[in-house]
C-alpha cells in the first residue's frame, strides 16, 4: 500500500515537474518575475491573447530569482527577468546573466536614464520615493530636499522603514552618486537621530504612523500611498487623506525614482518572444495600465496618467542613470550600518 503510494508520487512528480521543462520549443516565453503575480499577470494575459504566445511565470524575490538564474546556467528555462528595482538589474548584468537587446521600439519608448546604455535592461515603470507630511502639523514649505530630513528641527518627527529595504538602499545609493559617501553618511546619521521610532513595518506603515501622530514626516513610495487612498480599507483611506506629498529636490537634482524593469537572459531560448513581450510592455496601453492598477508612473513620455496621479501633480525626477543605484548599493548598506540605521 505504502509502496504503491510512493511510486504514484514518483510518477506524478516526474510528470508534473518535467513537462514545462521539455516543452521549451513551443511558442512561449518563460518569465522570472519579482513583480507579484497580481501586478503582472493581467498584462501577460493580454499579451497571450494578442499574440498567441504562452507566458509561463514564476514569481519570487528578486535576489532569489537571480541566484536561481545563476545556478541554472545555460540550461535555465527563463527568457526574461523582471525586477522591481534597478539595482538588481545591474547586479544581473554584472553577473553575466543578461544579454543586450537592440530594438528601435524599446529605445524610442524608454528614456536613456531608465535603461542600460547597451540594452542589457529596460525600465518598464517608474516608482517615485518622495516625502509625505501630516497636513495638520506640517507646512508644505518647511522642507524642500531629502537633505532637510537631517535637520535637527525634525528630531523625533520622522518615520522611515528599515535600511534592509531595497528602496531605502537605492535612495542612499543615489545620494552617494550625487554627493559622495562622507556627505551621505553624515546625512544618514542626522536622519537616524531624527527618527520617531525604530524602523519597522513597510511603507504603508510609515504613512499610517504619521497620520496617527506618531511622527510628522514619512518616506514612502507613491504607489503605496495610492493603494491606501484608493483601497477598500476605510481606516487606510482615512489615514492617507491626512497626508500629502512633498516632491523633494525640485530646485536641484530632482526626486529619487527607481524602475521596475526587465532584462532578456543571457541564455534565453525564446529570445524573439522575450523581446516581443518587452516591446508589448512599453506600449502606451500597457504603460497606462501600471498607473491605473498600481499607481506607478509610466516610463514612456506622453502616456496618460491615472486621475490620482494627475492629482499629485508633476515633478522633476532625478536624471541619474539608474545603473548607479546598483553600483553604489553595497556602499549604501555599509554606510547605513555605520550610521546605526536599523
Amino acid at each position: 500500500m505504502k509502496s504503491t503510494l510512493y511510486s504514484l508520487a514518483a510518477v506524478w512528480v516526474l510528470a508534473a515537474g518535467t513537462l514545462p521543462a521539455t516543452a521549451a520549443a513551443a511558442d512561449e516565453v518563460n518569465l522570472y518575475s519579482a513583480r507579484k503575480e497580481e501586478l503582472i499577470k493581467p498584462l501577460l494575459d493580454r499579451f497571450t491573447e494578442e499574440t498567441g504566445i504562452r507566458v509561463n511565470l514564476v514569481t519570487g524575490k528578486a535576489d532569489a530569482l537571480l541566484k536561481r538564474l545563476q545556478s541554472e546556467g545555460r540550461n535555465t528555462p527563463a527568457d526574461l527577468l523582471i525586477t522591481t528595482d534597478a539595482g538588481r538589474l545591474h547586479r544581473a548584468r554584472q553577473a553575466g546573466l543578461t544579454q543586450p537587446v537592440e530594438s528601435a521600439e524599446l529605445q524610442a519608448a524608454v528614456p536613456a536614464t531608465y535603461r542600460e546604455p547597451s540594452g542589457h535592461w529596460y525600465g518598464l515603470s517608474l516608482r517615485a520615493r518622495p516625502i509625505f507630511y501630516a497636513r495638520e502639523r506640517v507646512n508644505a514649505d518647511e522642507l524642500t530636499r531629502y537633505e532637510d530630513l537631517a535637520d535637527p528641527k525634525w528630531k523625533g518627527r520622522i518615520c522611515i522603514r528599515s535600511s534592509g529595504n531595497i528602496y531605502n538602499q537605492s535612495l542612499v545609493a543615489s545620494m552617494i552618486a550625487h554627493g559622495g559617501e562622507a556627505q551621505s553618511e553624515a546625512w544618514a546619521r542626522g536622519l537616524v537621530a531624527n527618527l520617531a521610532r525604530t524602523p519597522k513595518g513597510g511603507d504603508r506603515d510609515q504613512i499610517k504612523a504619521a497620520a496617527a501622530g506618531e511622527c510628522d514626516l514619512a518616506v514612502a513610495n507613491t504607489y503605496y500611498f495610492g493603494g491606501m487612498l484608493a483601497g477598500k480599507d476605510p481606516a487606510q483611506r482615512e489615514a492617507a487623506s491626512k497626508m500629502a506629498i512633498i516632491w523633494p529636490n525640485q530646485g536641484d537634482r530632482g526626486t529619487h525614482v527607481n524602475v521596475s524593469g526587465a532584462a532578456v537572459t543571457a541564455h534565453a531560448r525564446n529570445r524573439e518572444n522575450a523581446i516581443r513581450l518587452l516591446e508589448f510592455l512599453v506600449r502606451p496601453e500597457s504603460q497606462s495600465w501600471y498607473a491605473e492598477v498600481n499607481y506607478e508612473y509610466p516610463v514612456r513620455a506622453g502616456v496618460a496618467w491615472s486621475a490620482l496621479l494627475d492629482q499629485w501633480g508633476t515633478f522633476k525626477a532625478d536624471s541619474l542613470n539608474l545603473g548607479q543605484l546598483g553600483i553604489n548599493n553595497a556602499k549604501a548598506v555599509m554606510l547605513m550600518d555605520r550610521a546605526g540605521w536599523k
Partner: protein, 560 residues
Amino acid sequence: MEIASHAKEKSRTGHRPSLWRAGVLLSALLLALPILVVFGYLFVPAGDVWQHLVDTVLADYLDNSLRLVVGVALGVLLLGIPTAWVTTVYEFPGRRLFEWALLLPLAIPAYIIAYTYTGLLEFAGPVQTLLRELTGWSARDYLLPDVRSLGGAVVMLSLVLYPYVYMMARASFLGQSLSTLEAGRVLGAGPWRVFFHITLPLARPAVVTGLSLALMETLADYGTVQYFGIATFTTGIFRTWFGLDDSAAAAQLAALLMSLVFLLILLEHYSRRRLRFFQTGGRYRHLQRLPLVGIRKWSVFTLCLLPLLFGFLIPSGQLLIWALSIAEETLDLRFLALVGNSLLLAALASLLTLALAIFLGYGRRLYPSRAMTFAVRLSAMGYAIPGTVIAVGVMIPFAWIDNRLDAWLRETLDLSSGLLLSGTLFILLFAYAVRFLAVALQSVESGLARVTPNMDDAARSLGEPPLGVLRKVHLPIMRGALFSALLLVFVDVLKELPATLILRPFNFNTLAVRAYELASDERLADSSVAALTIVAVGVVPVILLSRAVSRSGGRDAESA
C-alpha cells in the same frame, strides 16, 4: 545473547550491515548537502565585509537572536507544560475540547499571526479605536507597548510554537507508568509534588525535544522578525547576502548560526542520553482524573483558554472578518488550484520525509556509532536554517549536477538533458525533506525509544533480519509516532514559504505563496482568504495529531 544474535545475523545475511550503514550515511550526507554548501563558503575569503559586520551590526544580531531564543524558550515552556499537565490529570469544564484545541495554533504560520496582531493593535485598528471611544483619549494621551518589537516577536512566536512542547509533554505525561504516579499519590504527595518530583523529571527528554523544535523554528524565522524590524541572524544573513552582495560573509553568518544550533542539538542529545528510559510493563490503565471544583476549576479553565484564545481564536477570527469582506472576489477556480497544489506538496513531502526519517532513525539504532550519530544530527539541522538558505543550498549542487550531466550528454551523444532535477518538483520536495527532517526524526526517534531493545533482540534471535524487525515489530508499535511525524511535516509544508517561492516550477502557486504575495505588498485584508485557508486546511491534521497523541500514551482513546 546479544553477541550470539549479531554473529548469527552476520553469517546469514552476509555484508548487509555495512550496506545499511553505508546507505544511512550516504542519505544523511545527501540531506546535509545544503548545509555543507553553506559551510563550503567559509573557505571563500570574505574580505572586509566581515570586518564591517563585526564593527557595526554583529553584536546586535547576536544580542537580538539570543534574547529571542531565551524569550521564546520561556514562553513555550510556560504555555506548553502547565496546559499539558492539567489536561492530563484534572477533570474540568472543556477538558476534552482543550486536549486537541490547544494544538490548533500550530496551524497558523508565524508571519501570519504577526501581520494579524499588527492589524488588530495598530493605531487605527479595532482595539485602539475602541479604547479611544471608551475613554475619549486622543492619540497622545496614552502609550501602549508596540507589538512590533522584540517582546512582541517573542509573544507571537511563543503563541504558535508552544504546541510542540504541549504535544511532546502531554505524550510523555500520558505514557508515564501509572504505578509511578499512583505510588506518589498513595505516599501522600499532592498533585503538584508528584508533578515536580516525578512527572516533570521523567518528561524532561520529551519537553527538551519539543523545546528544541520550537527554538530551531525561532532561529529560522524570517517573516516575523523582518516585519517587526528586529535585526537577527536571519535578517542579517539576507542583508549581507543580497544588500552587500557578499555570499561568503553571509555564509559565515549562517555558519555561526548553525554552530549555535549545533550546540542546542548537542544539549538536547546530552539531556536525552542521560535519561534513557524504556517502558517495561504493559500495564496501562486509565488515570483517574481529579475533578476540580470552585475557583480552581475556573482558573485551570482560564489557563487553558488563554493560549487558545490568543494563539488561535483571535487571529483566525480577524482573518475571517477580513476574508468575509473580500471572499467573493477571490474564490474561483484558480484558488482551488492553489489549495490542490498545497495539499499535494504537503502530502508528498510528508511521506518522503517520514520514509527518510525512519531509514535514518532505525539505521542509527541498529548501528550506533559516533559517525552515524553525527551524520544523522547534521542532516537534521535544516530545521533551524532559513528556508531561503536551504533553497539556495539545494539549488547550487543540483543545478551543478544537471549542468554537468547536460554538458556530458551534449559532448558524447549530442543530446541535451536540460535541468533534470533542478527544473522539477523533485528539488522542491528534496528541500522540504532537508528543512523538515528534524521534525519527523524527533517523532520517529522518540517512537523507537519506546521499543525496548529486548524486543529487537528477541525478534532477531528468532531469525528476523533487521528490515523484518522494523516492519513486523517497530513500525506497528510506533504507528502513533509515525502518524504524528507525518502530520507535523504536513502542516509545516503547508505553511512553508521561502523554499517554495524560489524552487517551484513555472505556473505553480500554493496558498502560502498567494498569502505572502499580497501580505508583503501590505494588503493584509486581501491576503486573508489564502491565509485563512492555510489555517483551515492545517486544522484537520492538527486534530488528527492530537488524537494520535492521546493514543500514543499507550491507552485507548478516551472512551468514557
